[in-house]
Point group: C2
DNA sequence: AGCGTATCGTTGCATATGCAACGAAGTCAA
DNA sequence: TTGACTTCGTTGCATATGCAACGATACGCT
């Protein structure tokens, strides 16, 4: 057969690891708060950004704008965020965490940190270098 | 606001990087051979495994068995693989690359290596450590 | 052999996704 | 002001996905 080995192919390895790590964490919040991965991304971004448009999230969070829009609709229905029209530019929709949303983030933040730590624990002292490399790759991808 | 920063959250970073890297490579083979990412995974696995069942791929390639099944159907239609019933256990479907499939892999292998190298080039001498860490994380995930 | 159970691959179904197109709103220049 | 052009968020549509259920086959136990 060929000498190509899928299991050691970088894009494949990254995909598998990313899927497992993301799903592992989403199991926690899906069960507890009933939100999906795209919804988690939106509320997580809102927690650091305050009141923000769909477009802003779309650009910063690596999600199609329709995906952001639908996630926002579901989050509003669930009571985690509010949507209102921007006064200066009425094309914009301002998304903002509700109190319920902020409570959720307050609970999720330590869970996220613990989960991240549990994953990185495997790497022991190599974890910092790994994270640096990860950031390097992400930055490089931005400029293409 | 909260002190949670999505952009430095490991699951998020891995997802973004994995999506970009996989899509970057799939742009190449999608254009050239008209196959999708799941289809690429199947042929790539077949290139090292020879004749193999849907179940085997499902287990080894981190894909739902329906996803494998549908990818296989499309690949057969496109002429890249053949499907036949296993003689010993007639529940099993043996998948195998056709000559056209082997030709495709022969073209794709150097493209894959070049693409991987182009991504890792950014890391320079840190690339080997990064790959070691990646393998460590993948191995760790297997045992859970 | 015969019956209950397990496994294989496919398919139906509900939902998620990406992309394009749309209406609404804003901008700019004549 | 008007009209061409751009931008924003939503929606329609075709396709992809995960999951459960199914028919077919194999296995194990009596």
């Amino acid at each position: 057969m060929s000498d190509f080995d899928l299991n050691s192919f970088l894009p494949y390895q990254l995909s598998v690891l990313a899927a497992r790590v993301s799903l592992g964490f989403s199991d926690l919040y899906k069960q507890k708060f009933g939100i999906s991965i795209p919804e988690w991304r939106v509320v997580a971004h809102l927690s650091q950004a305050g009141s923000v448009s769909v477009r802003e999230i779309h650009q910063r969070v690596d999600m199609d704008k329709s995906k952001v829009s639908r996630a926002a609709t579901r989050l509003e229905t669930a009571g985690y965020i509010s949507k209102k029209i921007n006064g200066n530019d009425r094309r914009l929709v301002e998304l903002e965490l509700t109190q319920k949303g902020r409570d959720m983030i307050a609970e999720l933040t330590p869970m996220a940190q613990a989960y991240e730590a549990s994953v990185l624990k495997t790497l022991a002292d190599q974890a910092p270098d790994f994270r640096i490399a990860l950031n390097t790759l992400l930055k490089r991808q931005d400029n293409e």
